[in-house]
């Protein structure tokens, strides 16, 4: 089937099998390998992307279901290669180690901050509940997000 999507402002048209998951479509067909795969049960959130303004796990969506939608991935964060405040905060607070969960973590935190610019610590944890990190224990990630929350 034909699928047309806009990813980070760029429009792509591809022919895909209906069974192809959005995450495979992004990584294998569009070569946007920033979004990752860490499980096969929808638990880990490494594949989290924002579809038409809504944070989703792209491993539980078929590519054909995204037809006509506008998708934001980690590659789209920041302008002309610069880091966003949130990305800089991750660096400042050592909120990443291996970096594999980081793209999904950033998308979840970005979605949170759009809706709630000044989240409490518990709100931050709740917003990151769908993203597994095995390196950091989350403490520094929560600190990083807190540091960019408007006072």
């Amino acid at each position: 089937m034909d699928v047309t999507v806009t990813v980070n402002g760029e429009t792509y048209e591809r022919e895909v099998e209906p069974r192809k998951l959005l995450i495979h479509f992004l990584r294998d067909d569009l070569d946007l390998t920033g979004s990752h795969i860490g499980c096969d049960t929808g638990n880990c959130g490494a594949c989290s992307v924002i579809v038409d303004g809504t944070l989703l796990k792209s491993c539980m969506l078929l590519a054909v279901q995204a037809d006509g939608s506008s998708i934001e991935t980690v590659e789209g964060l920041g302008e002309d290669g610069e880091l966003t405040r949130l990305q800089r905060a991750f660096n400042e607070h050592h909120a990443l180690q291996c970096g594999y969960c980081t793209p999904g973590m950033l998308m979840s935190a970005t979605a949170l901050l759009r809706e709630n610019p000044s989240p409490s610590e518990d709100e931050i944890k709740k917003a990151l509940q769908g993203n597994i990190c095995r390196c950091t224990g989350y403490w520094n990630i929560v600190e990083a997000v807190k540091s960019v929350a408007d006072a």
Binding site: H24, R27, T33, G99, L106, L128, G137
Partner: protein
């Protein structure tokens, strides 16, 4: 587990460092990581990101049986599909390769381990056939058409039954399920029991099966260069040096035919050391099909088949103690469940001995170690490898003794801890603890959880129908192996010592380029290496380009290169230091000549160049140095022996251990962590929350405190997950009941308790930078939770895994 309170999530407390020379400069600063930018922008290159024209995707047909004969394999239907490139079966593997070299002495030495099941399957999920096709989906479709007939056999799931008469036997070649056994005995245990006031007996303790489940699973993209007969293996294997010596002989090729390339690795924790069987399959298929072969392991595949941590039982433990809680010695029988294959085992049978007495001064110890095979996934190193199991045992003994004698666990520990003034301390088996002050660490940890206020908090919890418990977990992180310890397992082995390599060069435009032999998985090697280089060359870490990842073509690897066993801060950074000091000397030698015979001691490196100390105007920037040597060298003195491209191999000072006495120094450094956990148990349900937590670390000189703290935090989180929820449980038929993140619950953000971290620095007298390897000490969390639950319930805790049901059952006693 509990939410963090409203209070600050972390409080960093640092005691004054021990009075020793502390290096000035970049080392010791929390320099922000150089590797972060690409990872934050989704520009990291992980193994599944690597693509090649015409590559085929590999999918494994896996065994649904825990134990069965393979009576027939038919791949014709799969190969008939359009877009299927080919298959590989165990029969072909057996014809094309030799079995993997076995580390074990007999009987384990006799098993025949190939990269695909040959004739028999021995655990659910074992690779039986590999199928390669044009797309990932098609490869899996085709694998469903591979017909395999099995003749099921009884499964052996409980290691305690492995040596029973009539137990199912996994490896006929070994004549039974016993893989390796050895008796370790030091001191004079009988005199200890004679001197003891009490002998505390512990019939059985059990350390459960789990692993660190790195978020990225294993994978590879393998290209075969037919012309030169060489494979390029893009993989996230974290110990290519080990993979190479396993793969080369099996594939009957020289190691230079196996080029390992890695950039970013999505976590390892030891779990990515033993992917060599899958890599061999990829190599054979890349050659057979004459096209690049891509393999990505999915989460369920990983849980079913890869790198479980060693499950271990401790039986018939007897502890010789004085009434006042002084421990004299212990005797125990350790039974280790290796799973179906010895992929890194039976090294676990000696690795524990690096920390034989734990943190305590008892001198009389006897441990009979037995490792058996079972119909479960093969075990392999997992963060804290084999020491974690043993340290959990010594910590359980502390708390059970305290319980039996009615003493305070804090007092019992302080009475028995090896003291700061005893350092360096030689253990009963000849290991040398380099430095540390365990009692001071415990005091700090207790202070961080407000130990003095516990009485009031206990009462408050009671009022809410909860029971509060406090538990201590002390742990050692022995780093930088002496591989000579492998001879205690198998005297025939010709391994000893350790080594690591770095190269540092000044390029034509003065660029400082560093290559490492390691395969970092998030430990920030690019950053800490740059800090060390910057201090020696008198420049900024920003001026230092450390190549990302690993490539065996950089010629910056040695036999033990890799990232494992808490050693980079010692082996890796010492190699960097050595190479950089060579380069610094060469720069001075060159400048001396350029300045017309100025002696080296009159020169200094600073501001990105070299200058004459008492004549700052005489300054030669690195760019000029690089240009002169590389591109403008006419007229240089003939005898000027300078390349500005320096390779250094760091070799720790080790002796070969005494195989007869099983005595000698097995590791170079001993970082320590002491954790204190405060839990609240729901008396009705047995569910509990960790309401307070402190982790204190001492890893000697910290090159980058923020990175060190990150390691402490991550290891702690993994330990808490393992203590409460994470477990690889099998049913009686050998089916894994926790094959994915739905039933294998790893901690999520809401599970994390409030954490206070603290650090003290006791620099190692044995390492060039005063550093100690660290990162594996977090197992302390498991010990601390067990102790806290024992304190809360008043019942002796005998298992390392304490899900709510087990705690509820404890309270039913």
């Amino acid at each position: 587990m509990a939410d963090a309170g409203a209070s600050s999530i972390m409080s960093e407390t640092t005691l004054a460092p021990a009075p020793v020379e502390v290096q000035k400069g970049w080392g010791g600063q929390s320099v922000k990581r150089k590797e972060d930018k690409r990872l934050l922008q989704g520009e990291g290159v992980f193994v599944d990101d690597v693509k090649r024209h015409g590559m085929g995707y590999l999918h494994f047909v896996r065994s649904p049986y825990a134990h069965a004969h393979i009576t027939r394999i038919d791949v014709s239907a799969a190969e008939a599909i359009d877009g299927v490139y080919g298959t590989l079966t165990g029969e072909e593997v057996a014809a094309l390769t030799d079995p993997f070299f076995q580390i074990s002495s007999a009987p384990g030495a006799n098993i025949k381990d190939y990269s695909l099941a040959v004739g028999k399957v021995r655990y659910v999920g074992e690779p039986v056939v590999a199928v390669v096709a044009e797309t990932r989906e098609l490869a899996r479709d085709a694998s469903e058409l591979v017909e395999v007939d099995y003749e099921p056999l009884d499964a052996l799931v409980d290691a305690r039954r492995a040596q029973d008469l009539g137990a199912p036997v996994l490896h006929d070649d070994a004549g039974g399920n016993l893989m390796w056994t050895g008796l370790y005995s030091w001191g004079d245990l009988e005199s200890a029991f004679a001197e003891a006031d009490r002998v505390v007996k512990i019939p059985e303790l059990h350390f459960h099966r789990f692993n660190s489940t790195p978020l990225e699973c294993d994978g590879a993209l393998v290209e075969f260069n037919r012309g030169v007969g060489q494979w390029t293996i893009h993989t996230n294997n974290q110990f290519p040096g080990f993979a190479a010596i396993m793969m080369g002989p099996a594939m009957k090729v020289g190691l230079d035919k196996l080029r390992f390339v890695t950039q970013d690795i999505g976590g390892g924790f030891g779990n990515k050391i033993t992917s060599h069987p899958q890599l061999v399959v990829c190599c054979l298929l890349a050659r057979k099909l004459n096209r690049p072969v891509q393999w990505t392991e999915w989460r369920t595949d990983f849980h079913l088949s890869m790198s479980h941590g060693n499950e271990r039982w401790f039986h018939d433990t007897e502890v010789a103690v004085k009434e006042d809680g002084t421990l004299l010695g212990f005797r125990t029988k350790a039974l280790d469940d290796a799973g179906a294959w010895l992929r890194y085992e039976p090294l676990g049978g000696v690795i524990w001995a690096q920390v034989t007495p734990g943190m305590y001064r008892w001198r009389h110890i006897e441990l009979e170690f037995t490792q058996v095979a079972t119909n479960k996934a093969p075990v392999s190193p997992n963060r804290g490898y084999s020491r974690m199991q043993h340290l959990w045992f010594t910590e359980r003994v502390m708390d059970i003794v305290a319980h039996e004698l009615g003493l305070d666990p804090v007092e019992v520990r302080k009475r028995n801890y090896i003291r700061a003034e005893d350092m360096p301390y030689e253990t009963p088996n000849g290991c040398v603890y380099d430095s540390g002050d365990y009692a001071a660490m415990l005091d700090l940890a207790l202070e961080l959880v407000g130990y003095d206020s516990m009485a009031g908090r206990r009462a408050d919890a009671e009022a809410r129908g909860k029971r509060l418990g406090v538990g201590i977990g002390s742990t050692l992180d022995s780093g930088t192996n002496n591989f000579g310890q492998s001879r205690l397992i198998n005297p025939e082995l010709q391994f000893s010592g350790n080594n690591e390599v770095a190269t540092v060069k000044l390029d034509i435009f003065g660029e400082i380029v560093v290559t490492l032999g390691t395969t970092p998985q998030g430990q920030g090697h690019e950053t800490t290496a740059a800090q060390v280089v910057a201090d020696i060359l008198g420049c900024s870490p920003d001026d230092v380009h450390v190549r990302a990842g690993h490539d065996s073509y950089w010629n910056s690897h040695a036999g033990f290169s890799g990232t494992y066993a808490s050693q980079f801060a010692v082996t890796g950074l010492s190699a960097v230091k050595g190479a950089t000091e060579m380069l610094a000397a060469e720069i001075k030698k060159l400048a001396g000549a350029v300045f017309g015979g100025v002696p080296e001691e009159a020169l200094e490196l600073a501001d990105g160049g070299v200058r004459i100390k008492d004549n700052p105007d005489a300054f030669l920037p690195f760019m000029a140095c690089g240009a002169i040597i590389n591109a403008n060298n006419a007229g240089l003195p003939e005898d000027l022996d300078v390349t500005l491209n320096c390779r250094y191999v760091y070799r720790p000072p080790f002796e070969v251990p005494d195989v007869e006495k099983k005595f000698g120094n097995l590791t170079l450094t001993y970082a320590a962590q002491i954790h204190v956990a405060v839990v609240e148990v729901d008396l009705e349900t047995g569910s509990y929350e960790i309401v307070d937590y402190a982790a204190v670390d001492d890893c000697g000189k910290r090159i980058n405190p923020q990175i060190v703290e990150g390691q402490v935090m991550g290891a702690t989180a993994q330990a808490l997950g393992a203590a409460v929820h994470e477990t690889f449980e099998y049913d009686e038929d050998g089916n894994l009941l926790t094959p994915n993140f739905y039933d294998y619950h790893v901690p999520h953000a809401l599970d994390m308790p409030p954490l206070a971290t603290g650090a003290i620095e006791s620099p190692s007298p044995f390492t060039p930078l005063g550093t100690k390897g660290m990162g594996e000490g977090g197992g302390a969390g498991i010990h601390a939770i067990c102790a806290a639950i024992q304190d809360a319930t008043g019942q002796v805790v005998t298992d390392s895994h304490n899900p709510f049901q087990r705690v509820w059952e404890l309270m039913q006693r």
